[in-house]
């Protein structure tokens, strides 16, 4: 499947129709999910603000998905030397950063009514997302600060993989730390137990976000591939 993308031409011809299709699917899923979500009864304790969940949680999920994609693409580029992989990686980073930022912003917008504060260091999910954001920013900054395309690719790949290994460790450590001294359990508000009325639209919007991300990713990768072609760069800089 991935090896199919190794060949730029096959990737371009595939993504030409794949991207728009995914975009349509995303639109449909999001429309349905949001409609269900908004028509659902207000939560007995969270009130109307519960609806933020439908934009917030999927954003957070998609942000994580985005880093997985970034890591996967980097791996393919570093190990299998797939021609398109590096372009895909560099295309995924800004998207991931955007979704992460969205999760952070909607999250703290949610936090204000829920916890009476914009931010709570006690909640591991918040912190992990913030760290995820830092990883994205670091990747983008490093890549932007290297002018030699080939070298930039290599360095960025290494950083992405290191981050991929660390991400779960970081999330674990934060969770573990917060459970160790079990303060702030209030912050777990709305945790795992969610009524179906909310769960179904949440799942729908979640799927919708993912589809949207995929569509954007393909499009950006196409743009990147075209840019490099126009620069006359060997897609895989001389290795």
């Amino acid at each position: 499947m991935i090896s199919g993308f190794a060949n730029p031409h096959r990737f371009m011809s595939f993504s030409r129709w794949a991207a728009p299709t995914l975009a349509l699917i995303a639109a449909a899923l999001l429309a349905l999910g949001l409609w269900l979500g908004l028509s659902a009864p207000p939560d007995y304790q969270q009130g109307e603000t519960v609806r933020i969940m439908f934009v917030h949680v999927p954003a957070a999920w998609t942000a994580m998905l985005a880093y997985l994609c970034l890591g996967g693409a980097s791996f393919a580029s570093l190990v299998f030397r797939h021609a398109v992989a590096d372009a895909a990686a560099s295309a995924a980073a800004p998207l991931g950063a955007a979704f992460t930022a969205a999760a952070l912003i909607t999250g703290s917008l949610w936090g204000k009514p829920m916890w009476g504060t914009w931010w709570a260091w006690g909640d591991s999910r918040l912190v992990s997302v913030l760290v995820l954001f830092l990883l994205f920013v670091g990747y983008i900054a490093l890549r932007a600060s290297i002018e030699d395309e080939g070298k930039a690719a290599r360095a960025a790949e290494i950083l992405a993989l290191v981050g991929l290994i660390n991400l779960p460790v970081i999330k674990f450590s934060v969770d573990w730390w917060n459970t160790l001294h079990q303060g702030e359990s209030i912050f777990r508000a709305g945790g795992p137990l969610i009524a179906p009325v909310y769960l179904i639209p949440l799942m729908l919007t979640g799927a919708g976000y993912s589809a949207a991300f995929a569509a954007l990713w393909l499009t950006r990768t196409r743009m990147e591939v075209r840019r490099r072609r126009s620069l006359g760069l060997a897609l895989r800089a001389a290795r």
Binding site: G150, A234, A238, R239
Partner: protein
């Protein structure tokens, strides 16, 4: 040991630009090769490619007399480049001993090399205080201290005075006579007899 080096259809690309392609050459033991060419022709890049620091765009570099090229590069070749790789904050003596020992030489060998290159009076100084020529002599000392078959010299003689160049001529002649190989990038002719590989475009 390295009995000879063969470049087969070597091509180098730097930053998307092709420097040269289809380059063929052979250096046997006991021979010296001068790589000439205008600034930017790719002399440094070629030497670094032979040393394994720069990746070839295509073609291959074969080391005769040693199964594994990595091992030939690690243990049987010296590269002295535009930069001396000396730490200005350390004494000449420290740097001499490090470079020599790192290449497997003994302390005695290192000091003997410095002696022959006329560095003895300056070994106590910080590298930062050495003159350009003195620095280069320091960098060249490891050639003498740690005998290795292949010498890759990238304009290594430029900062040397007349005496220094004559001396290096002697030293290179001895090395070649002992069956060594020399590949030297240079703008002025080498002080010893050598074949020429011109990268001029």
């Amino acid at each position: 040991m390295i009995a000879g080096i063969t470049l087969e259809a070597v091509a180098l690309v730097r930053g998307g630009r092709t420097l040269f392609e289809g380059l063929n050459a052979r250096v046997g033991s006991g021979r010296a090769l001068t790589v000439t060419g205008p600034n930017g022709a790719g002399k440094t890049s070629l030497l670094r490619a032979i040393a394994g620091l720069v990746r070839l765009a295509s073609g291959r570099i074969a080391f005769e007399g040693s199964a594994d090229p990595a091992e030939a590069r690690r243990f049987h070749s010296h590269l002295v480049g535009h930069q001396d790789g000396l730490k200005s904050a350390r004494t000449a003596n420290d740097e001499l001993l490090f470079q020599a020992r790192w290449c497997g030489a003994t302390r005695q060998a290192a000091l003997a090399a410095a002696e022959r290159l006329g560095l003895a009076p300056h070994l106590a100084l910080d590298v930062r205080r050495l003159s350009a020529g003195q620095k280069r002599r320091l960098a060249l000392a490891r050639l003498l201290a740690a005998p290795r078959a292949l010498w890759l010299l990238d304009e290594a003689l430029a900062p040397l005075d007349a005496g220094g160049r004559a001396l290096m001529g002697e030293i290179m002649a001895e090395h070649v006579a002992a069956g060594g190989l020399i590949i030297a990038a240079a703008h002025d002719p080498l002080p010893i007899a050598a074949d020429t590989l011109d990268l001029g475009r």
